[in-house]
Symmetry: C2
Subunit: 217 residues, 2 copies
């Protein structure tokens, strides 16, 4: 039993360090996009290998703990939640790579001067991701619900961005490719927010045993 | 032990029926897009509730079996794989809803006559999804590798589609919105193919204990 608690602590530490890696990748991909920094974009792309490797290792560790200790009740649920969160984080890493690829594409082209709330989306997504990880480790349902609510704001900002960029593409054909890349970046950010929301929903389920997934309008 | 084997059989049946539901949704969303059928699109959107409910129930059942029987080795790995596949299938259902929404949008607008290989992508994705489910239940690594290989074709076709549609948007501003909806549909299909590939990779891992995820170029 003592070994189980030691192993559970290690899993908790590892999912946090996985989260920190992914948070860094998301943050750097956004900076690469906003600052037109191809070098930074390249770092995000190269760094995804490590995130992938961490995901595989953490999953293996969870399986080992399940097989070795056959935990039940809360511990079992926690490990299953970590397996899901681990998977969500790895997907966020892939989305950060997508953003970095678009950032690299845009960095060598004329600046697309346009007023869209992409920096605001980026900022909100960053907070959501951090809060999602915190609420998992702290088992904080109030914080989890904050993350879930924030997703609606991101959806609104994303819709606004899409509308503005579609209008630009209609008006100025020479900006189609760049606007399309920015649409893609905004969508990838919005998907990162969705995954952070998934994590928060899983935390509510973990703590309250209450399925709120799919319950939102 | 007898109870475990009975419960494992039930899990196997349920993941297959979840797969069949999602396969149906993907297929109908594609038909709605290709045949400009808003009614069919509406059915896909309405039907997603059932997929969401099935996901939650199957996950609960897996957790119960884990807690009750504390299975190990192959059975434990199989249940963990089912949990992941279950999650992937539910995401595919969401992507089918996205496609259905675009289908509905396009169905009430003038036809966007354009030669892009979206029907070919749809056909390939359909086969990939079916094969991914078969290879899971049959533990068929050869079939799993076929799914993984097919993903490259889908990526090529998706890239081709994107290029053609970007050119159309540049040349004809009045087609920007419709072309953008078709880009989005093709991307959602490509993501369904990615998730089918995830499933196939998990099957290889389940059977061979070999991590091939993230190993692809």
């Amino acid at each position: 039993m003592k070994h189980l608690s030691r192993d559970m602590d290690r899993i908790k530490r590892r999912i946090l360090s996985m989260g920190a890696l992914v948070e860094g990748a998301v943050h750097r991909s956004m900076n690469a996009l906003l600052c037109r920094d191809a070098t930074l974009a390249g770092e995000v792309i190269a760094g995804d290998k490590r995130i992938d490797a961490e995901e595989v290792e953490l999953e293996e560790e969870c399986l080992k703990v399940l097989a070795l200790h056959q935990p039940f009740a809360q511990d079992l649920r926690f490990i299953i939640t970590v397996l899901k969160v681990n998977n969500d984080l790895e997907r966020m890493g892939d989305l950060a790579v997508n953003i970095a690829e678009r950032a690299r594409f845009l960095s060598v082209r004329p600046e697309l001067s346009v007023h869209v709330p992409v920096p605001e989306i980026a900022e909100k997504v960053r907070h959501m991701l951090r809060d999602a990880l915190d609420c998992l480790v702290e088992r904080d349902v109030t914080l989890a619900r904050k993350v879930i609510d924030a997703d609606d704001d991101v959806d609104d900002l994303h819709r606004e961005t899409y509308g503005v960029l579609i209008d630009i593409m209609k008006a100025e054909p020479e900006r189609v490719e760049r606007a399309s890349s920015l649409i893609s970046s905004a969508r990838n950010l919005e998907r990162i927010a969705d995954l952070a929301t998934n994590i928060a929903e899983d935390v509510v389920f973990l703590v309250e045993g209450d399925v709120i997934r799919h319950g939102r309008a």
